[in-house]
Symmetry: C2
Subunit: 117 residues, 2 copies
DNA sequence: AATGGTGTTATGACTGTCGTACTACGACTG
DNA sequence: CAGTCGTAGTACGACAGTCATAACACCATT
């Protein structure tokens, strides 16, 4: 087992999604692909987690949805864009991450890279 | 607000507790004090969270409880010590933390220390 | 016609954390 | 000596985020 449990990443799903939405509006399937790629498959977000994050964050005013009235075909997608409030939330989360790192690292023992046991 | 939300630290409460139990057997109240001190009050674990972590981890075989038949007075305490299985779990969690850091940091923008906007 | 990739939604369960409240003992203090 | 503070733990029910499972729908390729 060398991937990441959800309890550990919990609380950063929103941050990840918002980070990607800060670059450009996007939709569920694309976001999930990007997370997979960026983390080299170390973290793969579950569909249900992703979509429920969307609805939660929309309810909180962090993102806004709009339909892709793309000229072309019938692929129905719901796009999301980040709001100002969402940007602020994201920045707060980034600050919180710095703190969290500090806190957690007090409780982590690093193994010797050339351990001899 | 400059402390840490529980969703973010969730999944590391166990790790923190186990870290402290690796140094010596201990009990709830002491553990909670130590976490508070070590993090300079940046993180304060809730009683209920702590004690439910104890019962969960004992059930999972990561820790064992024993009563303090301390010679002295009637202070009733339940001590816990870490098991071999608990040590392994802890080490796994440390490895996972390294991974998690890598993963999350892909999605974090660091603010310029001398930002000029 | 079947499969695989794209794209989303619904439902109900589970788990860890939390708020609130309570018990209990000892020591200090006004 | 009643009240408060620090120590130490437990009970209960609620809640939020994640998950497993499943289904729907369209398109392209085989």
């Amino acid at each position: 087992m060398n991937s990441i449990s959800s309890d550990v990443i919990r609380g950063y799903n929103d941050t990840m999604i918002l980070y990607l939405l800060m670059q450009r509006p996007s939709y569920g399937y694309e976001i999930s692909k990007q997370i997979k790629q960026l983390t080299q498959e170390k973290y793969i977000i579950k569909e249900t987690t992703l979509y429920s994050a969307f609805t939660r964050m929309e309810k909180n005013g962090y993102i806004e949805s709009f339909s892709s009235d793309e000229e072309g075909s019938g692929k129905r997608r719901t796009y999301y864009r980040i709001t100002e409030s969402g940007k602020n939330f994201y920045k707060e989360k980034c600050r919180e991450w710095i703190l969290t790192k500090e806190v957690v690292e007090h409780f982590i023992l690093k193994e010797e890279p050339y351990g001899n046991n």
